[in-house]
């Protein structure tokens, strides 16, 4: 049960990364740092302006979107055609910058967004679950399904999918790649920000949390494949369940072995993801 709830959150974390990866062909190593940033943003809104984190979610989403758009337009577009290795390094550099900025501004202390109802629990069948965890899970599902519908049915969503398939053809149909890339990156970062908010509610944020979250998002994107948000959701749930099962039955220290071991196996056996389609 715990695994499923955690899995929903994992799915949102990986959603933005899979989107950016699939469309821009950038593995965004700064993704975890943006999750961290989103968490801090919501924490600020909650602590200083007393905005409930769930209500503040759209606000965080919009601010992070603008940040992502500006970053892609002003910086990442400059190296987008360089070898894959350079974009990897660039996003790593961004992650270092964000981590140390966060450390300077917020100090290295652990923070949790702690709304007054954080202690309440609710019974689902025979299991008692904390209310916030359930709420976080629901928001995560809504975001994932919303994203899926957005990509399927809106004009922008279709343009994004078209670009992922074939940039040249998309250009011929009137897609402006600079703008579209920036929109996609903005969306990816906004999703990371939302994931950060949710993470901040059920867990702790500190400046160094980014790297491990990036690694998890990676694993989920690979397991779920890059084509479809629903695949990412399945990947997230899968990882959440595997982690909690290993923790319970084998031991805490093996949780990472299990998740990364599965990642390597999936890569070797099905390089386009468990649910990914062959190209």
């Amino acid at each position: 049960m715990n695994g499923i709830l955690q899995g929903g959150l994992y799915a949102v974390m990986a959603l933005g990364m899979a989107l950016v990866w699939g469309v821009l062909n950038i593995v965004n190593l700064a993704h975890g740092a943006f999750i961290m940033l989103g968490g801090y943003l919501s924490w600020c809104l909650f602590t200083y302006l007393h905005i409930d984190p769930f209500l503040g979610l759209p606000l965080t989403f919009i601010i992070m979107f603008m940040l992502g758009y500006a970053l892609q337009r002003g910086l990442i577009n400059l190296v987008i055609r360089a070898p894959m290795f350079n974009t990897l390094l660039l996003t790593f550099g961004l992650q270092v910058v964000l981590t140390y900025l966060a450390q300077l501004v917020f100090s290295a202390d652990f923070r949790t967004i702690n709304p007054p109802y954080a202690g309440n629990s609710v019974a689902v069948g025979s299991v008692v679950v904390p209310e916030v965890r359930l709420a976080v899970f629901c928001v995560a599902i809504i975001l994932t399904v919303g994203m899926w519908q957005f990509l399927l049915h809106t004009r922008l969503g279709r343009a994004i999918r078209a670009t992922a398939q074939n940039l040249t053809a998309a250009r011929l149909y009137g897609v402006e790649p600079r703008h579209l890339y920036a929109m996609t990156y903005g969306l990816g970062i906004a999703l990371a920000g939302a994931a950060g908010t949710l993470h901040g509610i059920v867990s702790q944020i500190h400046p160094y949390v980014g790297a491990s979250l990036t690694a998890k998002s990676f694993a989920i994107s690979i397991i779920g494949g890059l084509d479809n948000p629903l695949g990412v959701l399945v990947g997230g749930l899968f990882l959440g369940i595997v982690e909690s099962l290993t923790t319970v039955y084998i031991g805490q220290t093996y949780a990472d072995v299990a998740s990364f071991g599965i990642l390597v196996l999936v890569l070797i056996v099905r390089p386009r993801g468990l649910l990914g389609r062959a190209k």
């Binding site: 894959m84 270092v96 981590t99 450390q103 300077l104 690979i222």
Partner: protein, 315 residues
């Protein structure tokens, strides 16, 4: 190679080798660290720079080398040299066992698989009794920084000579062919699997030796520090900053970045990391082919070079 360049390199080597006799203790210690990092960057250069496979798992070799020495010396009471050999054997076995399936992956996928392997190894070693689990191992101390310095310098020289020999051999050309076009190389008769695994093992050997020296020098070893994941990123940045796929680029990158980061962390601690990140971002945007390319141009350099780099890669 031109005789003038040869003379310059020899002079630099003599200057470096003599450092323990005129440098301060602090400088020697900094030197050991910087030289070992340069070895790692060079090791990565073989698989990442020449073969074009961006390994994020070279820290595994480093860790295996450290543990090879530590296990041999602490658990079996064998001398240091045999421990180094044991570490190398571990690294080669790992490279072959893991390399065969993983080197089939390309691009990002290879990078991620190796990163994941590095994370898995940390967790596995912290559960192995022989390796002291997550408490680690304490090696018999040997307080001779001069010796360690010369060992590190020697290792770096051997590594660089090997790479230089590579660039003049059939094997090296095969690796470059794989980097430029793997299918093409296979068609031309390069046994790509054999070449890639050999390159992976070769880069592993040097990384393992560096790990072994470091372990004996520090005399203490635990899973988190031996299999430190940030080490991967460090060696890659140094290699790429200096110029991947060149003989001297990674050395230039490793020594200059070590110096910058050492200076910053002693002068302005809080913003050192921040600055490091900015340097990486600026370097990727402005000089994607590394410092070596910049130096090679020498006096013909100008602002136009940076503008040209941006123009080439932007959307």
């Amino acid at each position: 190679m031109k005789p003038r360049n040869m003379g310059l390199i020899l002079a630099a080597l003599v200057l470096l080798a003599g450092l323990p006799w005129y440098g301060s203790d602090l400088l020697i210690q900094f030197g050991i660290n910087a030289l070992l990092l340069a070895v790692l960057a060079q090791g990565w250069n073989i698989i990442g720079g020449y073969t074009g496979y961006a390994s994020f798992g070279n820290s595994v070799f480093y860790g295996l080398g450290s543990y090879g020495v530590a296990i041999a010396m602490v658990q079996w009471h064998l001398p240091f040299g045999i421990g180094m050999g044991f570490g190398v054997v571990l690294a080669v076995v790992f490279a072959v066992l893991i390399g065969v399936p993983v080197l089939r992956l390309k691009g990002h996928y290879f990078a991620i698989a190796t990163l994941a392997l590095a994370a898995v190894m940390t967790a596995i070693v912290s559960n192995v009794g022989l390796a002291g689990q997550n408490i680690g191992l304490v090696l018999p101390p040997l307080n001779d920084d001069r010796l360690f310095y010369e060992l590190s310098l020697g290792l770096l020289t051997i590594t660089t000579l090997t790479i230089w020999a590579l660039t003049h051999s059939r094997f090296g050309f095969g690796l470059i062919a794989i980097r430029e076009n793997e299918e093409g190389a296979a068609v031309m008769g390069v046994n790509t699997t054999l070449y890639k695994v050999t390159a992976f093992a070769l880069s592993g050997i040097f990384s393992a030796l560096a790990g072994g020296i470091h372990a004996y020098w520090i005399t203490f070893l635990d899973p988190d520090s031996a299999f430190d994941l940030t080490l991967n990123v460090k060696m890659i940045i140094m290699a790429v900053f200096g110029g991947p796929g060149t003989v001297f680029g990674p050395i230039v990158g490793a020594l200059s970045l070590s110096a910058v980061s050492e200076f910053l962390s002693s002068e302005v601690t809080s913003i050192a990391g921040l600055f490091f990140g900015v340097v990486i971002v600026a370097a990727v945007v402005l000089m994607p082919r590394g410092l070596a390319d910049l130096l090679r141009r020498g006096r013909k350099m100008g602002w136009g070079y940076f503008a040209e780099n941006i123009r080439r890669h932007r959307l």
